[in-house]
Assembly symmetry: C2
Homo-oligomer: 658 residues x 2
Amino acid sequence: MWLPDEVFRPLGSRRVRLDVAGTDDVVLRTVHDEVTAATHRFGGALVGGPDATTGDLALTLTSDAPADGFVVGRHDAVTNVRAGSPAGLLHGLHHVVRLGEAAFADDLDERRVVPVNGIRMLDHWDNVDVHPVMGQVERGYAGGSIFYADGRVRDDLSRVAAYARLLGSVGINAVSVNNVNVHRTEARLLTDGLPDVARLAALFRPHGIRVHLSVSFAAPMTVGGLPTSDPLDADVQAWWAARVADVYDAVPDFGGFVVKADSEGQPGPFAYGRDHADGANLLARALKPFGGTVFWRAFVYDHRQDWRDRSTDRARAAHDHFAPLDGRFDDNVVLQVKYGPMDFQTREPVSPVIAAMPHTRLAVELQVTQEYTGQQKHAVWLGPQWSEILRFRPWGEGGRTVADVAAGTGADDAPRAGLVAVSNVGDDDFWTGHPLAQANLYTFARLAWSPDADPGALLDEWIGLTFPGTDPVVGETLHRVLDDSWRTYEDYTAPLGVGFMVRPGHHYGPDVDGYEYTPWGTYHFADRDGIGVDRTRATGTGFTGQFPAPWRDVYEDVTTCPDELLLFFHHVPWSHVLHSGVSVAQHVYDTHGDGAARTVENAAAWDAIAGQVPADLHARVAERLAEQVRSAHEWRDQLRTYVFRHSGIPDATGRTVY
Amino acid sequence: MWLPDEVFRPLGSRRVRLDVAGTDDVVLRTVHDEVTAATHRFGGALVGGPDATTGDLALTLTSDAPADGFVVGRHDAVTNVRAGSPAGLLHGLHHVVRLGEAAFADDLDERRVVPVNGIRMLDHWDNVDVHPVMGQVERGYAGGSIFYADGRVRDDLSRVAAYARLLGSVGINAVSVNNVNVHRTEARLLTDGLPDVARLAALFRPHGIRVHLSVSFAAPMTVGGLPTSDPLDADVQAWWAARVADVYDAVPDFGGFVVKADSEGQPGPFAYGRDHADGANLLARALKPFGGTVFWRAFVYDHRQDWRDRSTDRARAAHDHFAPLDGRFDDNVVLQVKYGPMDFQTREPVSPVIAAMPHTRLAVELQVTQEYTGQQKHAVWLGPQWSEILRFRPWGEGGRTVADVAAGTGADDAPRAGLVAVSNVGDDDFWTGHPLAQANLYTFARLAWSPDADPGALLDEWIGLTFPGTDPVVGETLHRVLDDSWRTYEDYTAPLGVGFMVRPGHHYGPDVDGYEYTPWGTYHFADRDGIGVDRTRATGTGFTGQFPAPWRDVYEDVTTCPDELLLFFHHVPWSHVLHSGVSVAQHVYDTHGDGAARTVENAAAWDAIAGQVPADLHARVAERLAEQVRSAHEWRDQLRTYVFRHSGIPDATGRTVY
């Protein structure tokens, strides 16, 4: 992972003054320990006290600096970092680490660096007990859980400590430590498990990170033995209040709850004729006295749909459920909305919920773990996707961005929240299965801090912090392999925004009709004439109408709908000519060839730097790239064959269609 | 299950003379105990000794009767059963039970009743350890194993004892007690597990049934620690000889081994450049001194096929592998051949291997457990399918039947073997999940004894033995629900012999393209123009050439190929007109409507006899019939939609196609 010792050399070889006015704080201790370790290693020194020199770097805690960030500058041969909080100082320290020697070269104008988002959170879908189908980490592709083994919290939590340090270095300030699908054992983390939750919190706390728990809405019954979980029932309210008090006894800085309710079989308020605001506010009111937050997920849809029912559209579900509730949520509720209306697909439109709830704190949820994007067998760096989502303007040119909505910027009194993502780490030696998937974790954290950052620059930042001191060809190769990898993946998988087409259940590899006749609401309706989902107001499900102008009209019209989302919004003939100038059928033939070919180029580029990176790392990446090549060709050939069998349109270039 | 006390009333209310000349034998003790119990219950008596009367029924062990069967007749008010062996006498006793009062009415001409097949075997795919994917019983749909629980042989084997009695009553004489996919724990039944195998054998022995074990070809390495499992290696041969000696020390009447080798990932002789005859003979020679038999499965094919490779045809595989080995197998090897070339589909041609190995003992393998035929959620009685297979004449009119080949009848010096099937029982309260699936177990056993029996008569026999004393409407309803149920199932599932179209992995429910792009070799090649697999010699894979005349020519020609196998042998346009007079597309629309409608009729018929059978039984069957109705309509609608989307041909009758 990032932060090998070597990246501390510039700082560690210098004299560092830590001016924290005698404050005792666990985060300041982290700052102190990092500086001490670095200076010991690289020959610098920690200097301090009233008589000491100013040093080369001064880290100062001061109330005239921003509370959650820092001010950094350099003049008179001293680099100054001034922060208004211990966490701000930690972030300032790591800012200096990222700058490297540049932090100690020319003068730097003073610059204020604060996080755009107050919430910068990672959710872990880790189960305490290994789930018979979903395993230890649901949708995890990096081995077992770093938190749990053998049905309980691990005795040895050194991996968690290392992970917390890594997250703290890039500004993550919240984690949830158990799966949103809360099973029996995990439901008891809230009660019997509190001593263990406290152990986890103690490891995250020194890095400025608060721990959260996913809870079951049915816990009053399944854990508490009450006859109901009705949010309007006084006993239920009292039960949650008592549980929350217990939690804060054990973990005074506990962050709050994450809740998946009335979703994919999880219990929720619908059972009592209550709505999601009733449900969320129940928990919010219990947490309120302690400063805790409820993260209430908007991922609610009918997962037992009948494929024969063409009137139901899963894409509509979150907006249908939640938009009418705007203004009903307490101020310590954050509505956690997946970036798209379906489910973390490679390409979806931005969820219309994001533009529909101006009076609700709304966090955008991304997926760092690559459930639908290659499962850490494929090198797919998602920075460009996330950046595109965050920069999307739901109200068109000149309007606020998705990032603005999440952060509460760009409008007066807009409610503030932030970004949440599902983590991709496990107990794998390389943390993330595919070593290059570490770039996704890094990029998410940095975008959570600065949503408008250039993702390419963040990629290079990650490369520099992870592979310091290597031949420049290593960085160039990593950049080349990853930079366009999301679009490459899109090229060889489900085309033109139609989504899914993966093997049901595990979601790896192609199965074009795999979800076509299932209860999941994920259809493409391909036949001999065409493909795609008509979600227009004119003739389809009306989903386009959930967007504000201009998108409600841009998406509605097949002539203005962007190619990359065409099949999400329209059912068109195979012969339909795209803006790109080729037919839908030919587009599949072409892009799938191009995408598969690029995986071969990437594997060759990686081969060429053998010997320039550690052998075990090189071997692991090479093995994954080989699987990506195999899988990409499988995707290419299945999609081509499927399209040809349906459309009868031959490939204009005469390539083999099996 | 069959044999409730009531069926013993005719015999039990009479005087029974058991004349066994003082022979002490565990099977004779069973006969004695059955007669004693029945006469005690119903007021008859066991009479005997030199001074006793002849009684109403005389059961006599005598060397002038057939060794494996019996002679039965009635005159002078005495029913006489004379058998040449204890097992023959047991079968004679149950023959009398089946006859009921008719056994004691009019005179009966003396009749010789002997089993057509020497081998009448049930294989159990039970795992000792619950397999993470396949569960306790692989392809089992009736709960857990009756043999194993908690990772070992059960302490309480009373269900096994009851099962052995049931099997003995219908002439089964061999069982294998563990899955042909032999995992780590199960491989040690051969060594550490022998005391437990002996316990099982002791329960089957009193019913004339010998116990067999499935073994792993790699056992010399995985269990024995040898460096190889090469069948020509002297140490390997010695290892097997020693293991077999141990087994017979523990189980003197041990039956032998069942082996799945070089099949779906199981180890086999190919790893050493040896062939299946080398592999089978290795084990046969170890077993030979003790009278044991090797059941060597012919289910060998490439399960890692590339769907893009159109030159490989899984249907060809068993014949390609085994036909050249005819004459190479030792005389205590039985080649166990699935009835069709694919895998227990609802409709397949008969395997051409059956006609290709005149110098090999060949057992035909059927599947009582309903893997592809509704998984004991659907009422599908397979008697007519099995009967049709057994009566099929691979060499045409006047030639021997499949049953002849298995039994070694109809030709001079033909090698003798018999029938094997995969059992469908588990620890379910009703033994088979779907109570009506008991009819399959019964029918298989009776067909193994008499392959030319009329299956409808066997169905009525089962009804009479399982529901004695009920209102006639019960039997009529059961007969109506089951009699045509196999063809009904065929009607609403994969059409015209094309097979598969099931959900991958678990094989339940429709997924038309589920296996289309997989490594399993099970494709239908549907496109906008047509569907089916060209297996002709003229333009396809040449599979038709594996059959002798006339079938090689009947199947080759699309105009003579039977409708029900058309898509197995030919790729035809959706508009191709069948012998039945309708197009392939219309056939799907029609048969799927008819089949689904019949499931509704069956459920209604069953509803009408509520109160006439035990309530728990009625409820269980009703629940399964309701699921069958749901599933049949799902099949109907998916298949219709799939065909319409591909063909564009509308249903001539204008029914809804979704």
